[in-house]
Amino acid sequence: MAAGNLSIQYSERVYNALLSLYPFHFRVRFAPEMLQLFRDCCRDALEKGQVAVVVAFWLRLTRDVFVSVVRERGRELMRPVGAEHPLVGIVDLLLIPSMVTANLIALGPILTLLVRGSAKLPLDQFFMTSGFFSVAIGTLAVVASVVVTKLRPTVRLWVKLSA
């Protein structure tokens, strides 16, 4: 029985580590219940006492973890940005085209003037350099936006939990 308890303890540690693969929100909400369920299933498998049953249990579990992690991660990525409040969604929606327009009209040319100084550039070179800077700033903005979007709910949850 002591050996069985030890096996459950070690199995729990492994499963607990696997739970960290799930998205943060999902983990906070369901990890304790999943761990409890795992404990029950693990106990059932060990009670049967056959190695084949335990191996089959772990194979099924590994497949379950892999499939559900991919599914939950995909779901998290596809979740609409403004799911919590419609206003957040509208602001995000307006923010993107206005940033792109501001980038093309102002940021690209300003940066070109700053970099090239007062040197007079032919019009075609000026537009090419300006376009290059616009694309570079746009790419950086997209990356930053994705990072902020992904971090926003996590930060909010941390604030809520620590309050």
Binding site: Y22, F26, R29, F30, P32, E33, M34, Q36, L37, F38, D40, C41, R60, L61, R63, D64, V65, V67, S68, V69, R71, E72
Partner: protein, 116 residues
């Protein structure tokens, strides 16, 4: 409204079917689904709680505060029950599957064949 949720996945259908009999926690659901399906549908913790998460979000099930027997039970377990919408979705899916079976049985091939 209920038809917007159709068709249900086998896992979700089995979970709703299990909760139609009364509230249950994850382990009870898992066992009942395996028993009801004759062992053909075996839900792992990830699949089960993924489905529960979606069902909670769609308000087809809700968490129950009551404990069927508080003395006999682990307080860490969470119980879930079917909502009114969940019941309607289950009924609509059952109807859809029933119509499908009826349509299949009306074909010559299915009438002649018998399961092995």
């Amino acid at each position: 409204m209920a038809k917007n949720f159709l068709p249900l996945t086998p896992a979700v259908f089995h979970i709703l079917l299990t909760l139609a009999d009364g509230e249950a926690h994850g382990y009870a659901m898992m066992q009942e689904v395996a028993r009801r399906s004759g062992g053909t549908v075996r839900l792992g913790p990830g699949t089960l709680y993924g489905a529960i998460s979606r069902l909670l979000e769609d308000q087809l099930i809700e968490e129950s505060e009551e404990r069927p027997d508080p003395d006999m039970d682990d307080s860490r377990r969470r119980y879930y029950r079917l909502t009114k919408l969940g019941g309607q979705v289950l009924a609509a899916e059952t109807e859809r599957l029933s119509d499908l079976v009826k349509a299949a049985r009306s074909t010559k091939v299915v009438r002649k064949l018998k399961p092995v």
